[in-house]
Structures are given as C-alpha cells and as structure tokens.
C-alpha cells in the first residue's frame, strides 16, 4: 500500500482516506489507529459498531483471547490486543495493572490494600479492580510522573 501525504489549506477539512481493494483486517486496524489518535475507539456490541471516546473508557480487559472495553455502564468488544492498546494509549493515562487489564488512571477514585502485596483500585463507578503486585511499581512511577 502506498502512503501519500497531501497538505491542504486551513479552509479545507483534514481527512485520512484509505483507498483499498477490500476492507481487510489490516485496513480496519489502520482506521482504528487513526481514530484512537483522535481520542476515539471503535467498539462492537450486539453486532453493531460504536464510536467511544477514549476519555469515557474505564478499562480494557482481556478475557479468553478477546478484549473488552468498559465504560461506566457498557461493555464493548474491541479488535485490539491489550499490548497494542497499551502502546497506543500510553499518552492518554492508561496503564497496565495486571496481565489482562489496562486501566484509565483518571477513573480511579482511590486505592486500597487487597492483601498479599496487591492493591485494589476503586473506580469512579464504584467497581473494584485488582492491581497485580507486578505492576505496582509501574503504577507508582506513573502517578509520580517518573
């Protein structure tokens, strides 16, 4: 696939246009990446696609090889793997808190001890998620801006 960048004047709308022979998985990934850079992600629910603002996402979780994104009240499936989301959303205050979870730090209300060296993050929705002890060091560094 050739990549072409065309500069346009301020009066014209900025646009990413993908011209392809077929809408493959690769094309969908490129489109999703562009959306994520603009602060939006595509989620699937009941065979329908939804555009979700990244700032509304509480966390991503990988369950049985599938990745789900959780907002305050809804759950959507996303095509991304946790590690892909981790690198895409690092600048948007998302942090890996366990092997299967990527958490939006801005959605944490408080942090509690959860026994055995682990911690539990109480989210703004009231839900509790476990911060695995492997990732506590990373959490401390992220909160301190290190």
């Amino acid at each position: 696939m050739d990549v072409e960048i065309e500069q346009v004047g301020r009066e014209k709308k900025e646009q990413v246009l993908i011209r392809c022979h077929a809408v493959t998985e690769e094309v969908r990934e490129i489109a999703a990446f562009v959306k994520s850079r603009q602060g939006r992600l595509t989620g699937m629910k009941d065979s329908r696609q939804y555009e979700i603002a990244v700032s509304d996402i509480y966390y991503f979780e990988s369950v049985d090889g599938k990745t789900f994104l959780y907002t305050k009240e809804q759950v959507y499936e996303t095509a991304y793997r946790i590690y892909e989301l981790e690198s895409m959303l690092r600048s948007k205050n998302f942090l890996r808190v366990s092997k299967s979870m990527l958490l939006n730090l801005m959605k944490i209300r408080s942090i509690q001890s959860a026994l055995n060296g682990r911690f539990a993050a109480v989210l703004l929705s009231g839900e509790e998620v476990i911060i695995s002890r492997n990732y506590v060091k990373g959490l401390k560094a992220a909160l301190r801006g290190e």
């Binding site: 682990r118 695995s132 401390k140 301190r144």
Partner: protein
C-alpha cells in the same frame, strides 16, 4: 503471581514466623516449664518450626490473580495446614506433654496468634503503602485537571 514472587513472599513469611515463634517459645516455655535448660541445638528450633509451617503453604500457590474472597479462603487453608503441622510436631515430640489439654490449646492458640500477627503486619505495611499511593493519585488527578 509468578512462582518467583510467591517464593519471595514465603521467604518473608518464614523470617516473620521465625521471630514470632521465638517469642512464643519464650512465653509458653516460661509459663509451663520455666526451669528447662537446652543446648545450642535449641537455637535451630524456631527456624525448623517456621520452615515446617511455610512448606505446606506452597500448596496454596496459584498462577491466576485471586479475588479477595478466594485469597481469604486460601489464607484460611494455610492456617489449617500450619496448625496441622505444629500439632503433629507437638504430638510426636517426646518433650511436649500433650496429655495436658491446656498445652495443646496453648500451642494451637499460639499458632493462630502468630499467623494473625504475621498477616496483620503485612496488612499494616500495605495499608501505609496504599495511603502513599492515594496521595500520589490525588496529585496526579490535580495535575491532569481532575479533583
């Protein structure tokens, strides 16, 4: 949890138990057999007992991240295993008079107290760490425009 981390945690539990068992032997010994005298080999007793208490807890290892309730259930299982080991030692030891019910109760009670104290110390340390994390979280939220 990786096995390496689990092992490190058990090592920390071992040293905590060694200290607490030494204190328990002093207290129980002073109360029941204050005149007894021992050789240098007695110095190894707390280490041996702590090791025997920690070994059965390896049965509670899980690779999966346990939920709070599951973890509490595992801890209860750990305590039962430790009680079983210590009572086995007591009943097979020629120097411990297990025919006296008070001796058996004191040993079982001591194990319970020691285990609870070891867990309490860990919990206090983790709670202090959680307080620091909450302060960091507060600063982080303020920095990123949320209160």
């Amino acid at each position: 949890m990786s096995f390496k981390q689990f092992f490190i945690e058990k090592l920390s539990l071992f040293f905590m138990l060694t200290t607490l068992i030494t204190i328990a032997i002093f207290v129980i010994g002073s109360a029941f057999d204050a005149e007894a005298r021992f050789g240098y080999e007695a110095m190894l007793a707390p280490l041996r007992y702590a090791a025997c208490c920690v070994l059965p807890t390896f049965a509670t290892y899980s690779k999966r991240e346990l939920k709070k309730k599951e973890l509490i259930a595992r801890m209860a299982l750990e305590l039962v295993l430790i009680e079983a080991v210590m009572l086995f030692f007591a009943f097979t030891s020629p120097v411990i008079d297990t025919s006296r019910i008070s001796v058996v109760l004191v040993i079982a009670g001591s194990v319970l107290i020691i285990y609870t104290m070891a867990r309490l110390f860990s919990w206090l340390r983790e709670s202090a760490e959680a307080r620091v994390l909450n302060e960091d979280l507060q600063r982080f939220r303020q920095l990123h425009g949320q209160k």
